[in-house]
C-alpha cells in the first residue's frame, strides 16, 4: 500500500475510534437525565402503565451498559431509534433537516476561505501599514460577537432598512422543486429551473454571511500571523534581494508554506460552523438540523438528541479528515519523508 494511502487510512481509523468514544460520551450525558426520561417524554398525564411500557421499549429498565449495547446494535443497522417529538425514526428526521444545514455551512465555509485568506495575505503583505491595521481591527471585531448578533445586524440592515435580501426561509413560495439531494441550489439546477436557483441563492446569502463573518476574521488573522512568520525567513529576503516582484513573493514564497499551518485551524473553524449554525438558523427561520436540535433538546427527546449530536460529530470529523488529507498532499516534507521512510 502506498504510504500516503496508509496514512490516510490510519487517520480515518483513529477518527472512527474517536467517534465511537464520542457516541459513548453523548449516550452517557443523555442517560444521566434527572428523573425518568419516559415520564418526561410522555408528560404528566400519562398512566403508570404507559410510562412502564415506553420504559421497556427503550430498555430504560436495564443497566446503562446494556442500554448502550442495544443502542449500538441498532446504530450498526442504521437505526437511531424513534423521535418522541416527531414520532418518526430519527434517521428520517435527520435526512430531512441535515441538507439545509449542510448547504448553509458549505456556502459559509466557501466565503470564509475565499474572503478570509486573501484578506490575511493582503494584511501580511502590507504589514505595519494602514491596510494591515484596518484588516486587523475589522477581523478582531468580527470574531468578537456571536453569529446571532451578526445575523440580527445584517437582517436589520440588508433585509429591513435596505430590502435587498429576503427576511427568512430558503425559497420563495412560488417555486416548487422536486427534492433530490435536499440542497435547494443543486435541486433547482437538476430541475433546470434557473429562476429557482437564483432565488435559492438570494435566500442563502445573508444567513451564510452572518454565519461566516467570525470565520472570515479568524481565517484572515491566522493567515496573516502565519505569513508574517514566513516573511522572516532568509529565503524571502533573498527573493527580495533578487528583485522579484512583491506580488510574486507574497503569492509563491510567503503564502504557500504558511498555508499548511493555517489549514488545520481553518478546518477546525469550518467544523465549528456546524455548531454556530444553531444560532443563525434560529434568527433566519432556516429549516435545518439546528432548529430540530434545539426543539428536541427542549423536549428532552433522548433518541433525537443523541442522534443529532452524533451526526454533527461525524460531520465534524469528516471535515477534519479532509483537512488532514489536504495537509498531507500539500506538504512536501510529509510527502518526501514518507517516500524515504
Amino acid at each position: 500500500m502506498p504510504p500516503l494511502m496508509r496514512q490516510i487510512l490510519s487517520r480515518v481509523g483513529i477518527s472512527l475510534l474517536v467517534l465511537w468514544g464520542a457516541s459513548m460520551l453523548i449516550f452517557v450525558i443523555a442517560r444521566v437525565i434527572p428523573g425518568d426520561p419516559a415520564r418526561v417524554a410522555l408528560g404528566p398525564n400519562a398512566t403508570a402503565e404507559q410510562v412502564e411500557a415506553l420504559s421497556q421499549a427503550l430498555h430504560l429498565d436495564r443497566p446503562i451498559l446494556i442500554q448502550y449495547g442495544f443502542w449500538l446494535r441498532d446504530l450498526v443497522q442504521g437505526d437511531l431509534g424513534r423521535s418522541l417529538y416527531t414520532n418518526r425514526p430519527v434517521t428520517q428526521d435527520i435526512a430531512e433537516f441535515l441538507p439545509a444545514t449542510l448547504e448553509l455551512v458549505f456556502v459559509a465555509a466557501l466565503l470564509m476561505v475565499a474572503l478570509g485568506m486573501p484578506l490575511g495575505i493582503l494584511a501580511a503583505r502590507y504589514r505595519g501599514r494602514w491596510p494591515d491595521h484596518l484588516i486587523r481591527v475589522l477581523s478582531l471585531l468580527t470574531v468578537s460577537a456571536p453569529a446571532f448578533v451578526w445575523a440580527v445586524v445584517l437582517m436589520l440592515l440588508f433585509a429591513y432598512f435596505l430590502p435587498i435580501f429576503p427576511i427568512a426561509g430558503r425559497l420563495s413560495e412560488e417555486f416548487a422543486i422536486p427534492r433530490v439531494t435536499g440542497f435547494l441550489t443543486i435541486d433547482s439546477l437538476l430541475a433546470g429551473d434557473l429562476a429557482a436557483f437564483a432565488d435559492a441563492l438570494h435566500h442563502i446569502i445573508l444567513p451564510a454571511v452572518a454565519l461566516s463573518l467570525s470565520g472570515i476574521g479568524q481565517a484572515a488573522r491566522l493567515t496573516r500571523a502565519n505569513m508574517i512568520e514566513t516573511y522572516d525567513k532568509p529565503y524571502i529576503e533573498m527573493a527580495q534581494a533578487y528583485g522579484f516582484p512583491e506580488s510574486r513573493i507574497s503569492r509563491t514564497y510567503a503564502f504557500r508554506p504558511s498555508l499548511i499551518p493555517s489549514l488545520t485551524i481553518i478546518g477546525l473553524d469550518i467544523a465549528a460552523l456546524l455548531g454556530n449554525a444553531f444560532l443563525v438558523e434560529a434568527v433566519f427561520g432556516w429549516p435545518g438540523l439546528s432548529r430540530y436540535g434545539v426543539q428536541v433538546i427542549l423536549r428532552k427527546d433522548l433518541n433525537a438528541i443523541v442522534g443529532t449530536v452524533l451526526v454533527i460529530a461525524a460531520m465534524f470529523l469528516i471535515v477534519n479528515i479532509i483537512v488532514d488529507i489536504l495537509t498531507v498532499l500539500l506538504n512536501p516534507k510529509i510527502r518526501h519523508a514518507e517516500k524515504r521512510g
Partner: protein, 273 residues
C-alpha cells in the same frame, strides 16, 4: 505601562474591559432604574425608543434596557470567572500529566481530549444543558465541560517541548519528585501562554454563554442576560430594533475588549495562536 504606550489598541482594550467590569460592579449606582433588573412592569413607558430618560430605550413591559444590560454584565463576567477558575486548573493538571508522564497516561488522556474536541463546542454544551435544567450553575458546568480540553492540549504541547530541556533533566538528576517537576519546574514556563489564552478566553466564554442563553438554555427570566435579551428582541424586528441591537453591541464591546487585551499580551508574552 510601556506596553500600553507602544500599542494604542491594547490601551483601547484595557479601557473597554475596565468599563465593562466597573459597569457590572457598580450597576447599583449607575443604573437609572435598578429595580428594572427584575419582573417590573411599567406599561406607561413600554417600547420607548432611545431617549434622554431611557438612553437605550425600554422593552415590551417598559423596563429600562440600559439598566438591564448593566446587570446582565454581572452574569456574563461571573460566568467567565467561574468557568475559567474550574476549567483551567483541571485542563492544566491533565496536560502536565499527559505531557510529562507520557506512556499510558498520555495515550488515555489525549484520546479523551480528542473525544471532547470531536463534538463542536456549542453542541457539546447544548447536549449537556439539554438533559439538565437551564440554570446559571448548570450553564457553568456545561461550558466548563467543553472548555478544559483546550488547556490540556495547550499545556501538553508545551510540556512535551520542555521535557527535554536541561533544567528538567537537572531536577530529575537531583531526585526531585514528579509532582515537583511538573508543578514547580514546568508549570511556570506555561504561565505566559496560559495568561494570554485566559484573557482571550474570558471573552469567548462570555460569547458562548450568551449563545446558550440566546437559545433559551441560560439564566431564566426575569434575570437579565445578554443572549436571551437579543433573542427576545429579535422577535420585534425591525420596529423595536433597540431591543436586540443594544444587548448585541454590549456583547461585542465586552468580547472585543478582552480580545484586544489578549492580543496585546500575546505580542509581549508569546503564546498560542
Amino acid at each position: 505601562m510601556l506596553i500600553l504606550v507602544a500599542n494604542p489598541l491594547t490601551l483601547v482594550g484595557v479601557v473597554l474591559v475596565a468599563t465593562v467590569v466597573l459597569a457590572a460592579l457598580l450597576a447599583d449606582l449607575i443604573a437609572p432604574f435598578p429595580d428594572h433588573r427584575g419582573a417590573v412592569v411599567d406599561f406607561v413607558n413600554f417600547n420607548k425608543p432611545p431617549s434622554v430618560a431611557y438612553i437605550m430605550g425600554t422593552d415590551v413591559v417598559g423596563r429600562d434596557l440600559f439598566s438591564r444590560i448593566l446587570y446582565a454584565y454581572r452574569i456574563s463576567l461571573l460566568m467567565a470567572v467561574v468557568v475559567l477558575a474550574i476549567a483551567v486548573p483541571i485542563g492544566v493538571a491533565l496536560g502536565l500529566v499527559a505531557g510529562y508522564l507520557g506512556g499510558r497516561w498520555e495515550y488515555g488522556l489525549m484520546r479523551l481530549t480528542d473525544i471532547f474536541l470531536a463534538i463542536p463546542p456549542l453542541v457539546l454544551a447544548l447536549s449537556i444543558l439539554g438533559v439538565m435544567k437551564p440554570t446559571l450553575l448548570n450553564g457553568m458546568i456545561a461550558v466548563t465541560a467543553m472548555w478544559w480540553p483546550w488547556y490540556t492540549r495547550l499545556v501538553y504541547n508545551i510540556t512535551r517541548g520542555e521535557k527535554a530541556e536541561g533544567y528538567v533533566l537537572a531536577a530529575e538528576v537531583t531526585g526531585a519528585s514528579r509532582f515537583h517537576i511538573m508543578f514547580r519546574e514546568i508549570l511556570p514556563n506555561c504561565i505566559p501562554a496560559l495568561v494570554t489564552k485566559m484573557t482571550l478566553d474570558a471573552g469567548f466564554v462570555i460569547l458562548i454563554a450568551s449563545s446558550l442563553s440566546f437559545l433559551g438554555l441560560g439564566v431564566q427570566a426575569p434575570t437579565p442576560d445578554l443572549g436571551s435579551m437579543v433573542a427576545e428582541g429579535a422577535r420585534y424586528l425591525p420596529d423595536q430594533w433597540w431591543l436586540s441591537v443594544f444587548p448585541g453591541l454590549a456583547i461585542l464591546v465586552a468580547v472585543f475588549g478582552f480580545n484586544l487585551v489578549g492580543d496585546g499580551m500575546r505580542d509581549i508574552l508569546g503564546g498560542d495562536r
